[in-house]
């Protein structure tokens, strides 16, 4: 079995600011992100031979036409990818495998979501359309909150443990020009905010934001002829693991982490030859849809031992100046989570860090960066490892 290690290069990245883009629609956003990525790569739109677009909500767009109409690139393969909140990184994954297969030279992976167009408040619940009466329409925060409740009961974690994640990520995001929220918060602010779904309060939850992100992918030989000929990044590995959408019905599910992350990370680490992630990974952009998720990600990604996620945070190891900075961009906490866009945004963040041109906080001399995109009730996870060439 041949993987994709070092066979695929990221030639260019682009993203809109993530915020409430009331004045823009999904085509505006996707066009802006794709144009930036094309310019960053130094290619023409006509060089793109295939496209994958991550979209979750149907009001954002259906089918490959979402990418075709936004880019005005017609007549080439274009596919909508939907895989819960990991839709964006799965679009990237499909693009990588097509290039690694040798079918295309240059392709586009992108993602977009226009959540503020949904016509109601909060995160729209699409499960209700497709799931029988025995699945109550729990909010996304509710599904992750139940992991928090379990960690509180089993491990003695507290809301302070959660709040530290919010304070860290907001401090990082305050320095990023494309973040939705660009201000620091205090522990008191986080702890005193209104409840969303016990034990998660407003600052434990990522926001509802609009945005788009795009990545130009090619073979390393071609990347050497483009803008980033000296500093393009290489895909070291990608793992995608899908478990059940119904952990709430699975008597074996302990709510002390997400098996999908562990399985996707194992795939990626095996392919990249990583045996000690805490030492070998320089930094990570992880899916902090909720603060509890980030703490559990530390464990599931092998950055620390099971049960030590809260301590890993409290000891400052994941801070921007820690030994394994996590979410130096500010994460979903600061950017919000336009579902289909997030995975591609993470790839862009990791690429720019490795190139030493991060838009916010720049981590010191990174060698390997990890991006982690988690979807559904912790059921779909994509892990990508990028390295310098």
């Amino acid at each position: 079995m041949t993987g994709i290690k070092d066979r695929v290069a990221v030639a260019g990245v682009g993203a809109t600011r993530f915020t409430e883009h009331y004045e823009k629609d999904q085509e505006d956003l996707l066009y802006e992100a794709v144009q930036e990525a094309i310019g960053d790569a130094g290619i023409e739109r006509s060089d793109i031979q295939a496209m994958w677009v991550g979209v979750y909500y149907r009001f954002t767009g259906l089918s490959g036409t979402t990418a075709a109409d936004a880019t005005r690139i017609y007549g080439i393969p274009a596919t909508r990818v939907e895989n819960y909140c990991a839709s964006g990184m799965d679009a990237f994954r499909n693009a990588c495998f097509a290039v690694a297969a040798g079918v295309y030279d240059i392709v586009l992976a992108c993602g977009v979501e226009k959540i503020t167009d949904q016509g109601s408040r909060g995160l729209p619940n699409v499960l209700r359309d497709s799931i029988p009466p025995f699945i109550p329409p729990a909010s996304a925060p509710a599904l992750f909150a139940m992991a928090g409740t379990r960690c509180f009961a089993e491990r003695g974690w507290t809301r302070e443990d959660l709040a530290r994640v919010a304070v860290k990520n907001h401090a990082n995001g305050a320095k990023h020009p494309k973040a939705h929220f660009r201000r620091e918060i205090t522990m008191d602010t986080a702890l005193n905010a209104p409840m969303i779904a016990w034990p998660l309060g407003r600052f434990d939850s990522c926001a509802v934001s609009d945005g788009a992100a795009a990545v130009i992918i090619t073979r390393p030989e071609i990347a050497k002829t483009l803008n980033h000929r000296d500093d393009f990044t290489l895909v070291k590995a990608n793992g995608l693991a899908v478990t059940s959408a119904f952990p709430m019905h699975n008597p074996g599910f302990d709510y002390l982490g997400f098996p999908a992350t562990r399985l996707a990370a194992k795939q990626a680490y095996d392919e990249a030859g990583i045996t000690d992630p805490a030492r070998q990974i320089s930094f990570a952009e992880v899916h902090d849809c909720f603060t509890i998720t980030e703490l559990l990600n530390y464990e599931d990604l092998g950055f620390c031992a099971p049960g030590e996620g809260a301590a890993f945070m409290a000891e400052g190891r994941s801070s921007a100046d820690g030994d394994l900075p996590v979410n130096p961009s500010g994460g979903l906490k600061s950017f919000g989570h336009p579902i289909g866009a997030t995975g591609c945004r993470m790839i862009g963040e990791v690429t720019k860090q490795l190139q030493g041109r991060a838009e916010g906080i720049q981590v010191r001399d990174p060698e390997l960066g990890l991006a982690h995109n988690l979807g559904g009730p912790g059921a779909v996870c994509s892990v990508t490892i990028l390295g310098r060439n």
């Binding site: 109601s120 909060g122 995160l123 619940n125 209700r128 359309d129 029988p132 009466p133 025995f134 699945i135 109550p136 329409p137 729990a138 909010s139 925060p141 509710a142 909150a145 139940m146 992991a147 928090g148 409740t149 379990r150 009961a153 209104p194 409840m195 969303i196 779904a197 016990w198 034990p199 998660l200 059940s244 119904f246 709430m248 019905h249 699975n250 008597p251 074996g252 709510y255």
Partner: protein, 443 residues
């Protein structure tokens, strides 16, 4: 609270108000489960459902009760439209069992009558349900029965009327009394029982004064209604709920007069037999009355009753899916894996743990413990109050379900809390009643 809300004199006592996720059917199902648990059987072959407030104008409610009780080979009857629906249903159930066309007939009575805000009816009406199991070997004998039909209008409610109407309480009360006295005397004559031998008078009456007055006219010396003080006028459920209270205290040989009047009247003379104490519920009527949460405000009642319009989002639903999933959603069937023995819910085609596909249906128990939970403020749908407790519950005997909490303060929910599942109205998506199970703290 009701008097204060409208600046009117308050009647004494307390009133029961069902939760916003209840209707006569869900109340009736609670009573049905309680009755069958008391009888120690679910071997029934007829179900009668009596109410003036059926969930549908056209759709059979007793069939839903049968589905929840997991009984398919049963005769089902809805008796609706009358405050004596329960006594009429009981008389028919007795006839069926005596005739041998039914072995065991369950009579369920439930009501949630709509009272116009600010009226005396609002202060009188309570919500409730009761159920009776009719079997040849029951520890209560029927000694005499009688009925009379009388055309009269009052009280009434046309199809589409939001509230019960009444014209002249005095003539309505007199009509009620005349009919109840007549059938009671006839039933007592047939039973050969003297009115002063009646230990308990379990009757529907519109209000406590009329109850006392009709008891006196029949000649019952010691009549005490167990419901008006703590529950109110329970409509079609009132007589059977009173009977439950009477049987909680009856000794073998005691006589009970059961009666209800509306557009005529029914009366039955009952005698407690040997074994009546053994058949006594672990949970008595008084326990049921004591198990309550006081509503925090009249506004909460208004919201639960949907007395003001509310902009509830439309919830998609499907009659096809509800039918297909009926054994899971109504009778609470999961499956057991033939390979690894794991009991699971819903009825997976292949095992969620081992992937094996030799699955056999298994009905789940309705008690368990909270494994984890959240209190969800971010909800869409017909929720009357937030936060909504959502719980992952590990059921006794296996199976894990994800359900909403009800009948509790959200702050009371804890990991490990013992709960029992109860059948509730979830929403009315696709313009029909969508029912499912919720969890409440174990009693």
């Amino acid at each position: 609270m009701l008097g204060r809300a409208w600046d009117t004199p308050a009647l004494p006592g307390e009133r029961t108000a069902a939760g916003g996720d209840q209707d006569s059917l869900t109340l009736g199902i609670e009573a049905a489960f309680a009755c069958l648990e008391r009888a120690g059987t679910d071997d029934i072959d007829a179900i009668f459902f009596a109410t003036t407030t059926p969930p549908y104008a056209e759709k059979h409610a007793a069939a839903t009760i049968a589905a929840v009780l997991d009984r398919r080979d049963v005769g089902t009857v809805d008796v609706t439209g009358s405050l004596r629906a329960a006594t009429t249903a009981l008389r028919n159930a007795l006839d069926a069992v005596r005739a041998g066309s039914a072995r065991a007939a369950l009579v369920v009575a439930a009501d949630m009558r709509p009272a116009e805000p600010s009226t005396a009816m609002e202060q009188l009406f309570g919500d409730g349900a009761a159920a009776v199991l009719v079997r040849p070997d029951a520890p209560v004998r029927v000694l005499g029965e009688a009925s009379v039909a009388e055309e009269f209008t009052g009280p009434w409610r046309r199809t589409g009327d939001p509230f019960v109407r009444t014209f002249d309480a005095k003539i309505e009360t007199e009509q009620y009394q005349r009919a109840v006295v007549e059938v009671s005397q006839r039933a007592l004559d047939r039973a050969g029982v003297s009115p002063d031998a009646i230990a308990a008078f379990a009757a529907y009456a519109p209000d406590p004064r009329t109850y006392a007055s009709v008891a006196k006219r029949i000649g019952i010396a010691q009549a005490r209604d167990p419901l008006f003080a703590g529950a109110g006028n329970l409509g079609a459920a009132h007589a059977l709920a009173s009977l439950a209270g009477a049987l909680d205290e009856a000794a073998p040989g005691d006589h009970v007069l059961l009666a209800a009047g509306a557009e005529g009247a029914d009366a039955l003379v009952l005698a407690a037999a040997e074994g009546v104490q053994r058949a006594r519920a672990a949970r008595t009527l008084n326990d049921a009355l004591a198990d309550k949460r006081m509503l925090a405000s009249y506004e909460r009642y208004v919201r639960a009753r949907r007395l003001i319009e509310w902009d509830d989002p439309v919830v998609p639903s499907s009659t096809i899916r509800t039918w297909r999933d009926r054994r899971q959603a109504f009778a609470l069937y999961g499956v057991r894996c033939g390979a690894c023995e794991l009991v699971q819910f819903p009825a997976n085609r292949a095992c969620i743990a081992c992937g094996g596909d030799r699955m056999t249906p298994q009905r789940l128990q309705r008690t368990g413990a909270v494994f984890t939970y959240t209190l969800d403020h971010l909800v869409a749908g017909e929720y009357l109050e937030t936060p909504v407790p959502r719980m992952v519950v590990d059921l006794d005997g296996g199976g894990r379900v994800f359900v909403e909490g009800t009948d509790c303060e959200p702050s009371d929910v804890t990991v490990g809390m013992r709960v029992e599942l109860c059948f509730r109205l979830m929403h009315e998506g696709a313009d029909f009643k969508n029912y499912y199970w919720k969890a409440r703290p174990e009693r």
